[in-house]
């Protein structure tokens, strides 16, 4: 039954709104697609400037997903005879209930208070700070009023225009890039102001409702900032920094993915999903994208695991009981760790060059007759990149893991020795499981950071070898270096922003899937 009637499963177990909504939207979508929508999908009808086919394709996939999901849920429920509402639905419901309760309380308060109190209650809506001034806290009141005045002033003179220009985007008098940045600034300032505004209304309401509360003087509030509200003081400057130089730029780039920003012109329009479309729907681009994604994943996998296990093995070797001068060995590896990456990577590239010492030595020893072009052939270059990355990464992992290795309880090994386990067995049966247990999150974060490992690839090969049949990408380009090439060399800003979003989605899927389920994440905050 659920095949034809999505949501019926939920209906059977006394839930009404959701199944009806589900069924209605499914029916509406089906009717639309059969009468009109399919034309866009197969391309007999098109819409100027918008890639309607793509949107419809996505919509069909989404609907099919929900349909199957509903089917699956129903089957599950039929089996278990119980329908459980998901957590997030309950959360959202609770939030709405709380909001509703707040409004009802407010209405109750409004009904039962005197005229002057009504005036007080209304004052924060049109004159922030009036209440504070009337209650003999002029400094606070004036400050609040100044905030309101400044915001109104800002909105009247530039803010409103900034927001309008953000949506129009392609304006004559200034570049579209500026419109985007100013637009985000306007949104952010409005957000901050709205927060202060609503907060002020809430506080005034509390004061009116409960006569026992007195407004705290300014001095007392400032004192709180170094006491139990110290976190506000500590976080303000760092978060402002992150906001201006990380969050706003990221929002900017995300929105660039939905524009036509290409080439030298700073004026462009919103184009919706077209840049994703040209990545996925153009055959050569799609081939390049898939090939680069494949290599990115291979690279991240090998880079992470070679370094991880190499680091553990090296640490285990150095920490062996019979090894002398442990400190000397460790220091040597720390020296290699300390050499700046751009130095060691540029040097490595030259070492394996046609005239570099590796070829030269091999020639001198008579092992080869002509110099090997290490960077010229794709698979050689790729292997070399992974090997050189081991040189870079293993010392770091060695340092990281040797602390944990030394923390493994000694009696585990003693017991194993008594039981007659060999050293190799001990390594695989005790050391590795323990290490994996403790440092599992590290593998995930390592994998993610290797997906984004720009330095190793770019400083080593810059994506070389070129001309391997990929669009604007070289044989060792991973997603992030391809993004860089598209930006710097080819100025396809919208495409590279789209790739950036793809990278984000990849990392997010991988890490949220694994990371959120690890113990370290769940324990967070329970330590005290």
């Amino acid at each position: 039954m659920a095949v034809l009637f999505p949501g019926s499963g939920a209906l059977l177990v006394n839930s009404y709104i959701k199944p009806i909504l589900k069924f209605a939207s499914f029916i509406i979508f089906t009717i639309y697609m059969t009468f009109n929508g399919y034309k866009f999908l197969i391309g007999t009808e098109s819409f100027p400037g918008l890639n309607m086919g793509l949107y419809h394709g996505i919509a069909v996939i989404v609907v099919l997903y929900f349909w199957f999901h509903s089917l699956y849920k129903t089957m599950l429920n039929v089996e278990q005879k119980a329908y459980k509402t998901p957590d997030w639905v309950i959360k959202v419901k609770n939030r709405f209930r709380d909001k509703g309760k707040a409004f009802r309380d407010y209405r109750q308060l409004w009904k039962h208070c005197s005229v002057s109190e009504k005036f007080h209650l209304l004052s924060p809506f049109w004159f922030m700070g009036l209440y504070q001034i009337l209650k003999k806290r002029p400094l606070k009141g004036i400050l609040l009023f100044l905030i309101q005045a400044a915001y109104i002033f800002y909105m009247a003179f530039t803010g409103v225009f900034d927001i309008v220009d953000f949506f129009v985007l392609n304006t004559e008098f200034r570049p579209s890039t500026f419109n985007l940045v100013y637009g985000f600034v306007a949104f952010l300032l409005s957000g901050v102001f709205m927060y202060v505004y609503v907060h002020n209304i809430k506080t005034v309401t509390i004061y009116v409702k409960d006569k026992l509360y007195k407004i705290k003087p300014m001095i007392a509030e400032l004192k709180e900032l170094v006491d139990h509200r110290l976190y506000v003081t500590l976080l303000t400057a760092p978060l402002l920094g992150v906001l201006t130089f990380t969050v706003v730029p990221l929002l900017f780039m995300i929105s660039i993915a939905f524009t036509g920003y290409q080439g030298a012109s700073l004026n462009f329009n919103w184009t919706g999903l077209d840049s994703f479309g040209s990545l996925v729907l153009v055959r050569d681009n799609l081939a390049t994208l898939l090939s680069v994604i494949r290599w990115t994943l291979i690279w991240a996998f090998f880079a992470t695991f070679t370094n991880y296990f190499g680091g553990i093995l090296l640490a285990a070797l150095i920490n062996k009981k019979l090894i002398k001068w442990k400190k000397v060995w460790r220091t040597i590896f720390i020296i290699t760790m300390a050499t700046p990456q751009f130095v060691s990577l540029l040097i490595m590239y030259q070492m394996f060059g046609m005239q570099g010492p590796v070829n030269q030595t091999l020639l001198n020893l008579g092992i080869i007759d002509t110099a090997i072009n290490f960077w010229g052939i794709q698979w050689q270059a790729r292997t070399l990149v992974i090997i050189i990355n081991m040189w870079i990464g293993i010392p770091y992992l060695m340092v990281l893991t040797s602390g944990i290795l030394m923390n493994i309880p000694k009696d585990l090994y003693e017991a194993a020795t008594v039981d007659g386990a060999s050293r190799t067995q001990q390594f695989f049966k005790i050391t590795m499981p323990y290490m994996l247990y403790v440092t599992a999150p590290l593998l995930v974060t390592g994998f993610i950071s290797n997906i984004n490992n720009f330095n190793v690839i770019y400083l080593l090969t810059q994506g070389r070898p070129y001309g391997v049949g990929l669009v604007n990408a070289g044989g060792t380009d991973i997603l992030i270096t391809w993004l860089y090439q598209l930006t710097r060399t080819h100025r396809m800003y919208n495409l590279s922003a789209a790739i950036g979003i793809i990278i984000f989605l990849m990392s997010a899927l991988i890490s949220l899937g694994i990371y959120r389920n690890t113990a370290a994440y769940k324990r967070e905050g329970e330590l005290r």
Partner: protein
Amino acid sequence: MKRKLLLESILSHALIVFLCVVWLIPIVWVILTSLRATPGVASPTFIPQSFTLQNYVTLFFPSGAQAYYIMFGRWMLNTIGVAVLNMIFSTLFILCTAYALSRFRFKTRKTILNMALILGMFPGFMAMIAVYLILNMLGLINHPIALFIVYSAGSALGFYVSKGYFETIPIDLDEAAMIDGASQWQIFIKIILPLTKPIIVYTALTSFMTPWMDFILASMILRTPEQKTVAVGLYGMIMENADLFNNFTVFAAGCVIVAFPIVIMYVILQRFIIEGISAGAVKG
């Protein structure tokens, strides 16, 4: 049994010496190249036939056409300036953020933690074009100060290691101090900070290192030779001017000079680095 142990010992030591040699070869090669008299990458033998200090002299006192784009002394000063400023501000920001997020429980805390997680998943320099635009609006393009601003503004996101470390310090200490009438500020400054010296040193060291290591952002912002940092300058010496043949030995000399103080610092501060890195490991 004894002979078996001896054999194992010899084999293990041989293996470790071999690994050390493998890891040191590139470094030795750079040092040798920086002392080589003949220019260029190619050299018929691994150990050069004749040695000279001329490359180091050229680095600081270039002559002829090289004088227009090799300004190593200036690059060093720029980098040290950015590094010191960045060290002060980044350490401050990171410690403040980490402390606030580890010790206080407030409404937006979880949101901030999740946001940091999400921001960390975006490729680092995806936003760089926008950063460039913003700096352009502020008139800071081609100025090393811009680097310091961007580094320390974004530094707060690197709070994980310090936060993990703060969490290992028992909360009882705070409570005892609170009973004695200390404010949160006093607890932070007088009690917790002195206990976290290793992580402060580690944080300061890593943020001091940032401008020495970073290449991408710096190369985007710094254009003219006299404004560059060492990373950008050295890279340009062999890549942009396409003068690989003449400059490579000089470049190697530059690499040695850059790497030398860093290596010394790492060796001296080894204890803190190991502690810092492993503190970050367990928390992930």
